[in-house]
Subunit: 508 residues, 2 copies
């Protein structure tokens, strides 16, 4: 059974939270003595605490205690911003000795409350560790501190004609250590694969303070268990990632994109097959946007891509990107694709817009990447990030909308919009349910566990890329067997027997 005390509730529920969370009774509260110790081992600018002689106000650390959606609120009294791996190690050793919980925090851009303190844990922010350690322009291997912002790393490797193997909407704030810890997917996964393939090595401070240095810069190394893999996607529950070695691919010489309007959802799958066959190795993204999401983007100021006439018969959209080494060849492939699509006896698309300039290229992407922000402006979103067979994408959205209708919760008085968008090529759909007037228990009860049961019936994943954080541990069993969950617990127990590392996250 799910204890209400164990999960951070949305705003509407905050009053219900327990003052003393029994799930954290094994942990100690941070004391003045602890803060004094941290002040001894760290620079003064690295310690922020509402207790002790140099205390700050809770406002001063407010940004560390709330996620960017404003959905998860923490109550950490103390935030530490170490500047080196050695400092992280010292902090963790002390916390292990004193049984103080630690929440590692990167850019705090997660969507499942994984980087927010649930009880009395400290926040260990990696933001002050933001140096590139090395880059080899021949191999493209980059070694960086965990706190490096993804976009800064993209800019760092760009002059060497390399790109980061991942890209996501939050790139301006998210940090590479957080990307690794949450196994971030994003917009380039179709082309460059997962971080399990592109991360070559990690440096991790383990829950007893030991520094595990597996910061290899080798593409191939079969000397024993590939333990770094365990920390990719562990959401900071097995240790603190402090350094990352990652393979950056050569930058494409040419990039193009095209937005296609489709008369109905059923065409998405055959369109994907056609596009993949004709574009082959230059296909780098195939993103799905349903009509509701598109209209919302336009409502929030995005310039129109299609005219009213074209939109009349359009049910959904696909954004296709190519990245290749020869502009002429790529343009020819794309032109041939569009011609064959537009002249087909039974056309899969209504129409399409091919970007003709860097500005247009950016504009098409801006619509897709801006959806998350537009959602925030619409109301309070319930976000579900699922893997299901591509053929079922829209059906899941429709079923969820019907469920809300049947409970009388669909409309401007409750849920104003239910929409789907996501990475078709990866089978990953983002569903956003927008509560116009804020989070409400009856909406959540209508959505959950209903949505998880739908996903489970399709053998899908209840978290394709966002992770479990504090939002979904209770739903883990919809995607993993009891044997798997038992073994996760054993792994957690082996690395973190005191349960001080991001307690209450990932495992139910």
């Amino acid at each position: 059974m799910l204890s209400l005390c164990r999960v951070v509730r949305p705003l509407a529920f905050r009053a219900r939270r327990c003052a003393h969370n029994p799930a954290f009774s094994h942990l100690n509260t941070v004391t003045e003595e602890d803060v004094a110790h941290f002040s001894n081992i760290l620079a003064p600018s690295s310690v922020f605490s509402t207790i002790g002689s140099n205390s700050v106000s809770s406002n001063d650390i407010a940004t560390y205690n709330v996620d960017w959606m404003g959905k998860y609120y923490g109550k950490a009294t103390t935030v530490l911003r170490p500047r080196s791996t050695a400092e992280v190690s010292e902090i963790v050793k002390w916390c292990a000795k004193r049984k103080i919980g630690i929440v590692p925090q990167g850019g705090n851009t997660g969507l499942v409350g994984g980087s927010i303190s649930l009880d009395k844990e400290i926040v260990l922010s990696l933001g002050a560790m933001s140096k590139v350690r090395s880059f080899d322009p021949v191999s493209g291997i980059l070694v960086a501190d965990a706190g490096c912002i993804l976009q800064s790393l993209s800019e760092y490797v760009a002059p060497h004609n390399h790109i980061m193997p991942l890209d996501l909407g939050a790139k301006g704030s998210c940090q590479i250590g957080g990307n690794v810890s949450t196994n971030a997917g994003g917009l380039r996964l179709l082309r460059y694969g997962t971080l399990h393939g592109t991360v070559l090595g990690l440096e991790v401070v383990l829950p007893d303070g030991t520094i595990l240095d597996q910061l290899s810069t080798l593409r191939k190394d079969n000397t024993g268990y590939d333990m770094k893999q365990l920390f990719i996607g562990a959401e900071g529950t097995l240790g603190v990632v402090t350094g990352v070695s990652i393979l950056t691919p050569p930058a494409p010489q040419a990039s193009h994109n095209v937005m296609l309007a489709l008369p109905r959802y059923d065409n998405v799958l055959p369109l994907f097959q056609t596009v993949r066959r004709q574009l082959g190795e230059i296909l780098s993204s195939f993103e799905y946007i349903d009509r509701t999401a598109y209209d919302m983007a336009i409502d929030h100021g995005h310039s129109r891509i299609f005219n009213e006439e074209e939109l009349k018969s359009t049910q959904c959209f696909v954004l296709v990107e190519t990245s290749g080494s020869n502009k002429e060849h790529d343009e020819q492939k794309l032109t041939e694709l569009l011609e064959s699509l537009l002249t087909a006896a039974k056309p899969l698309i209504v129409t399409g817009t091919l970007s003709q300039s860097a500005a247009q290229f950016a504009s098409l992407w801006a619509l897709r990447e801006g959806l998350t922000e537009a959602v925030q402006k619409e109301g309070k979103p319930y976000k579900y990030d699922i893997s299901v067979p591509i053929a079922d994408f829209q059906r899941v959205v429709d079923v969820l909308r019907d469920q809300l209708k049947s409970r009388g919760l669909y409309g401007d008085h409750a849920v104003s919009k239910v929409m789907g968008y996501g990475h078709v090529g990866d089978g990953n759909l983002h569903i956003n349910v927008i509560a116009k007037h804020g989070y409400a228990p009856e909406i959540e009860q209508a959505l959950e566990p209903f949505i998880y049961e739908v996903v489970a019936s399709l053998n899908g994943s209840v978290s394709a890329e966002h992770g479990l954080g504090s939002m979904k541990p209770h739903a883990l069993h919809y995607s993993k067997s009891n044997v798997s969950i038992d073994w996760m617990r054993k792994i957690k127990g082996t690395f973190d027997p005191l349960n001080i590392m991001n307690p209450g996250k990932v495992l139910p």
Copy 2:
């Protein structure tokens, strides 16, 4: 200190092997009762034992007790060939109860003695589990029994226009479960990445007989720790891989290859950069072959690719392969590349041969893929499979040859050839030292730990893709820190506290 009893020695050393290996004193010998039990739970055709009422001769199980190089000899009395995961589970449960060691064996094509019994373990052959469980031609996701032969799987997906994401010389014998358990690299890694990225799920029988079913067919699933990763490359020491879910890429529409002759090794790195820049996303292999290896292939009957005149000024070769979706575009890219290489002011190559037919394409690959077999015909090989910076490839081969010369061991009386070939794009070099008259202690002593020390001085890996098996556990510390090795032990202890799973392998 390395106990002589703990490592299977080459043929020359066999007499020295201990009758009772103290490293295996925790394990029991297989008895008639055990064989009777196995005969009860398995079909008669699944049990082969030199003991018990239906005993066979040791000759009948000889192929399970020697690796294909004839370097590692085992002394298993009992070989089991289960036909299902449930049968594997029953076998393992019994062995756990009785403390009997288990050596999981796939195609037995490994090069480090990982699939040969070291003492009194049984051999658990996966060869009778060879069914494809499912294949989705849209996503390309294949689910197969561990015992499926790699080439059979390639042939299975070919009519659906897909290919396996890995390819290696042993494809006609090696099994997908063994590929996964050894994290096999091979010839396509440059293009399709490692198995850590392409394996989507595994079914594993754990050392207590529990079946861990993580046979996901999802490209993205961030629900908790990605435990399957631990079994990729664990060489059967953490459990028996019984099923594999793997992402197969769409088959390229066009493939080309070209063999380039280089005047000197120093040109390899700038050539790699040029080729990668010009061919971009269609580059699928970049294989290095030194002059000694090339000459050996010709000596063993491979048809000549270059004439005597061209060879006079050639020090080494590179085999480049492209795979793309548009024949015309690919040919244009290749032609432009060759023209620019041949007309350069300071040419990086002497000459090149572009295959003009399927037969020529196959012939160029046959030279590269046939090297392993040619080496076997030359004598007894010491094989080192290392990751080092590309710029140091040939220097490592030269240094090793010099070392043998300085000990008076280079020449037809001892080591007749020292050669290097491998996957430049992955930084992976295969060094073969050929003992003309068989393995000999003075040769091994000249080579080891010398070669490992050289690799360690270059921050390389002592095993890029072959694994550690029983050959290299003692060399693990050259590539991994003590902290890493300690944690490998903890992982091993968590999964296999009785140490029955492939004992004596991987960990020192």
